[in-house]
Symmetry: C2
Subunit: 220 residues, 2 copies
DNA sequence: ACCTGAACACCGTTCAAGT
DNA sequence: ACCTGAACACCGTTCAAGT
């Protein structure tokens, strides 16, 4: 039983390595098989076709996400720190995961994981939000809001959505108020580059500001 | 000149139709060519290979996004309504676009558009945020925050990330406090289904609450 | 039980050939 | 100038055959 899992794990290792080194398009049944020293057909009992292989990759990423968070929180000794700190650590771990595996990370949006393990991780997140004082009836929604933003930010970064929007890769007439009035008004701000680490921290601060203050003054 | 664009447009029409009807995997050079009555090779001068075809699809989606917003704001006559209303209309248009083209929509995260037209759309967004009172130095960041969330939410919906997390597609022991303590605490909330329209509206309300109140009490 | 290799039906793209 | 069709180097997967 654990032997089968072991064989599967070795295939997923190989697939993730190829994705990291050569991109997702290079993750071919044949290429993965060659790396583990088998024929392409020998993978089918292990991972169940290409779809199963990619689903397995998402499982691996989720497992690594949790291990990143554990090592991080252990190092700064916030294992049982304030709930918001643990949420922040998780949010930062998402981004680090994306930087470690930029090609494979794009699968996270496309191939939702429904393994018991992923439900356990969701349960941990729900627990943190409850501890942080989010009213129970809002917890699932706030979880989706935060995870959607964190996944989206990391995906935008590694897929180039953010850098592509950088106006310094000049479109003609960018500072012409007649063509791009808002860009012209913001030219000072736009000229300086973006510190993505800082931007992410600011975004998280804003979102947690929301969580902290949304349910204090007014109820619901 | 416009004749070349016209030919290109016809190819992109066909590609989008196939994506809508049969999914993104069915968008094949051969299939698209067949739909416009040409050989596969005749597409190359028009769109420049498969990559160019997919980039063109993203352009189409962005154009449709703006047309959705225009018709919506026109109907509710908020064309020159309050800036926040226009931002809300745009955010809702993103989601409607995803529902119209669920398969092609996933390209939005993967293939950022850098055409002059997309910069014009970004400029419009910047303008709305300035009008809404966001301090200039925060406008690009808030734009990224909002667009990342809106894209991420719509992608999660159409790609099944949200529905896959639905606990009612039962994992064993979901209500066992020993296994999933947070799920057990939230069982009342989780049992009732989610109204996605309502959830999105609440999320937008929260985010605009943030925009409205973040820069009033404390100056950053 | 587990693995292999030939084969099938595809895919994007090159290229020589047609008009 | 614009299009075609054969061909090339792939791809995921089926299946009969080996041990």
């Amino acid at each position: 039983v654990t032997e089968v899992d072991d064989k599967r794990a070795r295939v997923l290792d190989a697939a993730l390595e190829i994705a990291d080194e050569q991109g997702l398009a290079a993750v071919t049944m044949r290429a993965v098989a060659a790396r583990v020293g088998l024929s392409a057909m020998a993978l089918y009992p292990r991972v169940g076709g290409k779809e199963g292989l990619l689903d397995g990759l998402v499982e691996r990423l989720l497992a690594e996400l949790m291990s990143i968070m554990d090592t991080k929180t252990a190092r700064t000794s916030t294992v049982d720190g304030k709930p918001v700190d643990r949420l922040m650590a998780l949010a930062r771990a998402v981004r680090e995961l994306a930087r470690r595996h930029p090609a494979a990370f794009s699968l996270m949006f496309a191939r939702p994981s429904t393994t018991p393990e992923s439900v356990r991780q969701l349960d941990t997140l729900y627990g943190m939000l409850l501890d942080a004082g989010v009213p129970p009836e809002h917890v699932p929604r706030i979880e989706r809001l935060l995870s959607t933003f964190a996944l989206g930010f990391a995906t935008s970064e590694v897929a180039g959505r953010f850098s592509a929007a950088d106006p310094r890769r000049a479109v003609r007439g960018l500072n012409d108020p007649a063509v791009f009035p808002a860009h012209a008004k913001l030219s000072d701000v736009l000229e300086q580059g973006v510190d993505w680490d800082k931007e992410y921290e600011q975004d998280l601060a804003d979102l947690f500001f929301l969580i902290r203050h949304r349910w204090t003054a007014d109820k619901d």
